[in-house]
Every structure is written in structure tokens, then in C-alpha cells.
């Protein structure tokens, strides 16, 4: 229905603005100390556990978790502010990103008391990292067709199957696996369950999947009759699909869905200011207007999520626009900056190289844009 994509604007509170100042001065300090250089797509690909621990110590991971679980009782909008500052800086946050974004809310919501005790405080400290095993060799966008099976055995569950494109499994402390516990693939969404598997584990093999830039961010994770404890089931048996869908709302709604190339855009804005080229300035103005609007949309989606209005359709639509913006930033800088991209280069040349090599992923990850558009079409009542 059209009403479900109405996104009222959200205005950040004074407290959120003060928090922004704190995060900015922290990041300025880190940059001055040379602990990181801004990178494109750093939320996905630049992991620095020491940096994550420093964020944890400041209370900027697990922000919305209750203090009983090591969290900080902050609002989702305050978390939004921290998130967008880290993304704008291109900070090395990939180690804890998935744990903080998806697994903390999911474990809080669906986890048993012992799972919460075990994982949440460690996530909030920036010490416990998660991978998510969803895609499979024969199940990419069509997640409901997963073939990985979990069979109840003496004292636990036995998991068999292969997950692919699993981000960060090579450094994660645990992986959440979507597996079929009941029925057959024909049952689609019914009969799926989620498991938390600590890593490394016997019977679980992790192999790198190298991307076209030669880098290792993704993995193939093979479960060969891996036996996990009874209490590794997350949430309800058979409710895996519902749980995953709720997680995807967190995965798709964040500002990383339009900000992956913002570090490149910021560097180029500085370059344009120094060059004073009028035609480049106009295009910079155009990208700025688009970024401004996407930021307002992203903020509205975060507010909707915070108020318990499921933003599934709005999030899909923002990701569709946002991921195209990310790619247009790359294309504009490439056309106008008068430089050549250099792999592992410094400054604009390096940022441009990285952004170009990552660009095919923008419109694929977190649900391909075609799938997202069909989510929107369904929301409009025409599918």
C-alpha cells in the first residue's frame, strides 16, 4: 500500500548531535594518530579488532542493548549517528559490523538466556565477531531453497551443507547458520531454523572465496556432519525464516546502503575545491543533493525501525536508490578527477581503484536490486 512507503522525516535530538561531536573528535584523534586511513566499503572489508575494541570501550558497539547484557540503553537513532560517522570516515569497522548490526538484536530477541549471556556482552565490548551463513551454491537470492540440513542427534544437532559468500567467517568467533530442520525444499519457508556455531569447530571447514580484486573477504563454509550442542538452536525450531526476515530489515536499512563510496566522494570534494573546476563542481553539487536526500531517507527508515513500524519496503527502496548512488559516485569521480585508479595506491587513486573493484557487489549484496524491486512491487500490491 502506498501508505506503507510514506517515510515521515526524522529530526535528530540534541543528545544525538552531542554524541556526533564525540564520535567526530574520537575519529579525528584516530586519524591524527594514523591508526587508519579512510577506505571505501570499509564496513565490509577492513577489519581491525583493536579498533573495534576501542569503539567498544567507548560504548559505541551494542549501543541499543540493555545494560544487563553489557549494552548502553541507547536509542536506535543514536546508534544511527555513530554508524554514519564511522561510515563517512571510512573507518575499519568490518570486524564487529555484522555482530553489532544483526546478531546483537537477533540474539537479544530470539536467544536463550544463556546465549544472551554468552554473546551479547562480548559483542558490546567489540571482542566477539559473527559471520552469517545464508547463501548457498544453489541458493543466492532465493534463500528459501537452502539445502543445508540440521538433524537432531544424541546431545545436539548434526549440520551438513555448504554456505557461500560468508563475509568474515575467517576471523569470526561464531557463525549463524540457516538450515532445514523439518520438511523438504518444497516446503520453502517452513521448516527452516537458525543455529549459532562457534568457530573454529570440528567438521566445519572455511575456505576463502577471492573476489575480482584478489582480496579475501568472503568464504565458503562447509559443514560435514558437524555436531553442535543442543542449545545452539537460535530461537524457535521452524521459525528460521521469520527470524531471518527480521534480521534482513536491519541488514538492509542501515546507512551503509548508500555510504560505501562516501570516503571517495569526500576525498574528491576536497580535490574539486582545490582545483576549482566549474563543471566538476556542478556534478559534485548533484551528488551532494542525492546524498542529502538518501541520508534523510535512511534516517526515516531508522526511525521507522525504532518505532516498530517494519520498514521492509522502505528499506528495499532506499537500498535500490542508495546502491545506484554508490556506483554513480565512482563513475563521476572516474570521469572528472583526471587521475588513473591505482590498486593499493594512496589518496584518491587508491580509493577510486578500491571503489571500482567493489562496485559489482553494491547492487548484489543484501538482496539484489531486482529482488528488492519485487519486494517493493509486492508492497504496492501489484504482485
Amino acid at each position: 500500500m502506498t501508505t506503507s512507503i510514506h517515510l515521515p522525516p526524522h529530526r535528530l535530538t540534541e543528545a544525538a548531535r552531542r554524541l556526533r561531536d564525540d564520535v567526530r573528535s574520537f575519529l579525528d584523534g584516530e586519524l591524527e594518530a594514523g591508526t587508519f586511513v579512510p577506505r571505501c566499503d570499509a564496513w565490509m572489508s577492513v577489519a581491525d579488532p583493536a579498533f573495534s575494541r576501542r569503539l567498544g570501550a567507548r560504548g559505541w558497539i551494542g549501543m541499543t542493548l540493555p545494560s544487563a547484557y553489557g549494552g548502553h540503553d541507547r536509542s536506535p537513532l543514536e546508534r544511527f549517528v555513530v554508524t554514519e560517522e564511522l561510515l563517512a570516515a571510512g573507518a575499519p569497522v568490518a570486524a564487529h559490523w555484522i555482530a553489532d548490526r544483526q546478531m546483537a538484536p537477533s540474539i537479544l530477541r530470539h536467544g536463550s538466556p544463556s546465549q544472551r549471556e554468552r554473546y551479547l556482552p562480548a559483542i558490546a565490548r567489540g571482542e566477539c565477531y559473527f559471520a552469517i551463513g545464508m547463501s548457498e551454491p544453489d541458493a543466492g537470492s532465493d534463500l528459501a531453497s537452502v539445502r543445508t540440513r540440521a538433524r537432531q542427534v544424541e546431545g545436539g544437532w548434526e549440520i551438513t551443507g555448504t554456505k557461500v559468500w560468508t563475509t568474515g567467517a575467517h576471523f569470526a568467533h561464531a557463525i549463524v547458520v540457516l538450515a532445514r530442520t523439518d520438511g523438504s525444499p518444497a516446503d520453502r519457508h517452513a521448516g527452516l531454523s537458525q543455529f549459532i556455531v562457534d568457530l573454529p569447530a570440528p567438521g566445519v571447514e572455511i575456505r576463502p572465496i577471492r573476489t575480482i580484486d584478489g582480496e579475501h573477504h568472503f568464504n565458503e563454509v562447509i559443514f560435514e556432519a558437524a555436531v553442535v550442542a543442543e542449545d545452539s538452536l537460535l530461537g524457535e525450531r521452524g521459525a528460521g525464516w521469520r527470524q531471518v526476515t527480521a534480521e534482513l530489515a536491519h541488514e538492509r536499512s542501515g546507512p551503509e546502503r548508500y555510504m560505501s563510496t562516501v570516503p571517495l566522494l569526500r576525498a574528491w570534494a576536497e580535490h574539486v575545491r582545490q582545483q576549482g573546476d566549474a563543471s566538476a563542481e556542478r556534478e559534485l553539487g548533484g551528488l551532494t543533493a542525492r546524498a542529502w536526500t538518501l541520508r534523510q531517507m535512511s534516517l526515516s527508515v531508522a526511525a521507522a525501525l525504532a518505532e516498530g513500524r517494519p520498514p521492509e519496503i522502505a528499506a528495499a527502496l532506499v537500498k535500490d536508490l542508495g546502491s545506484r548512488f554508490e556506483a554513480d559516485v565512482v563513475e563521476t569521480v572516474r570521469r572528472l578527477a583526471g587521475i588513473e585508479p591505482r590498486k593499493h595506491g594512496s589518496g584518491l587513486e587508491g580509493l577510486l581503484a578500491e571503489a571500482i573493484l567493489h562496485s559489482p557487489a553494491f547492487t548484489l549484496r543484501g538482496g539484489s536490486n531486482e529482488i528488492l524491486r519485487s519486494v517493493v512491487a509486492r508492497g504496492l500490491g501489484v504482485r
Partner: protein, 341 residues
Amino acid sequence: MNDDLRAEIRAAVTAILDRQGEERTGRAWKELSEGGFHLVGVPEAAGGSGGGLGELAVVVDVAAFHAVPVPVAETAFLAGWLLARAGLSVPAGMTVASLDEARGHRQDGVLRLSGRLRVPWARHADHVVTMARCAEENLVAVIPGDAGAELVTAENLAGEPRDLLILDGVTAAASAAAPPGLDTTALLTRGALARSVQLAAAARAVLASARHYVTEREQFGRPLARFQAVQQHLAALAAQVTAMQVSAEAAVAAVEHEDADAGVAVAAAKATTSAGARRVAAIGHQLHGALGYSSEHHLGAVTTRLWAWREEFGNESHWHDHLAAALHDRAWWPLLTGDAG
């Protein structure tokens, strides 16, 4: 509180404007002005109907959504605002605003105005309010419709009046000093905000119509909505429309709350809504097929407005340049978040 008031205004204005054909265009202005909706957002002390910018935006939004040819943006958003800012009262009847500044001179205690002024809706107006420069003074002045100005009529792409008034020593009926900061640039920004709201509303109307059409219309034995290509078009349209809507609403909120960076918000909103107009109109027409190209169909009333309004009060190139200029002394990210940095 505001939400309830806005919902009431939306319902009342919709009841007046949600009609078909001749009856609507003939009576809309009369009924809107009888209800005081043409001056929402203008303080009662200045002869307006009261309410804030958010309420005014609702009236302008509904009128644009229904593509009704009434100058609510021109009367309340522009003329009423100019008059109230200068401490003048809105005269009875239809008062619209000049987009240009007149030259004034005083003669025997009377202010006389000259110049070529672009005045949307001038042919229908009882009064025109204009900014005027008189020696060192910046003024806001009122010209009666029958004061003897030459009227040159013209229309925009949607057939809306975009007239020219040629003044040669016309006597002002009232005038007052313009407060600091009230100049043609401020007027342009104000107009850009109004058009952003209108563009977003028109875009929403395209989406509503397309959604209805593709579920009703059958080809090859099934509704158009069953075709994946059609679904993808519709989703892309919805994304564009939502972006336009969010940017316009956020800009209204920024101006309403007098944010320090409200100027950036308006620039970004007018750029977003103007740039989005093309895709919205194109997808809208593609989905409606030949039927939507006929003047019999409502779609053209909306898409021609999209094409007209995107140019008025600065198109996207104008506002892109404006944002780029703002970046000369602001870093990029603090400009986006509205902080000093």
C-alpha cells in the same frame, strides 16, 4: 497536535479538490478562498488564516496532487509570506507575488513603481505584491490589479498563467520596509520550497495513477501488473517518488524549525524533486501506454506540471551550483549532516 490539524486540513482540502472535470476548476478557487485555505500559514494578524508552514505545505500538496489550477503556492507561500514579513496585511481577493524586484521612486509622497515583473497568475489577481528598490531602501509594495500595468500573458507547459507585468510609474497602494535578509534570493528559495512540495505531490499522483492502471488494464489475458517488467518499472517509480517526497518534507521541516542549514535542505530538495521529475514522468507515461498521452486522461495534467515546475525557481543545475558554492567554505560531510563540523 500538529498531525491532527494537518490531517483535518488534508481532508477538508481534498473534499474541495477531489472532483472531476469543469466543476472542479470553476469552483475550486472560490471554495478554497471561502474556507481561508488560500492563506494558511499566513499569520492572522497579517490577514491570513494562521497555522504554520507544515499546514500550508499540506494545502499546497493536496492541490498539486489533484493538479488543480489554483495559485495556493503563489498566494500563501509567496505573497502572504512577503506581506507578513514586511508587516503588511494581505488585501481581500487574490494576491499573488512578483518574482522580480521593481524600481521605485517617490513623487509627492507617493511610491511609483516601474519595471518588467514576472508574475504567475497576474491576469486573475486582485493585487500583486512585489519587492522594490527605491534609492537606498528595500521595500515590499502592493500594486492593485487595476493600477494600469500592462499585462503580457504567457503559460507554462501545464497551461498555468506565467504572466509578465510591465510597470511604468504605477502607484503602489501600500508599502513597507523589507526586513533584513528579505530579498530576491530569499524569495527564490521560498519559491523553490513550494515547488519542491508540489513536484513531490505530482510525482505521488503519477504513482497512484500508474498503480491503479496496471492492476485494471489487461493485455495478453492478464493484468499489466502480472508482468515482471511492469513491476520493476513501478518499483523504480516508487523509489523515485519516495525520494522526492522525503526531500520535500524534510526541507519543509528544516525551514519550519528555522534550522541553520535550512538553505542546504531547500537546495537539495529542489534539486532532488526537479531531477526526479523526468524519470517519474517517463515511467508514468510508459506504464499508461498511449492512453496516458491523450488529453482525456488525467496523467498529462500531472506530468506537464512536473515538466514545468522543475524549471521554476531554479532547476537542478541551479541548485547543484548553489550546493557546490556552499562547499567552498564547508567540508562535505558536516554540510550534509547540518553541523558546524
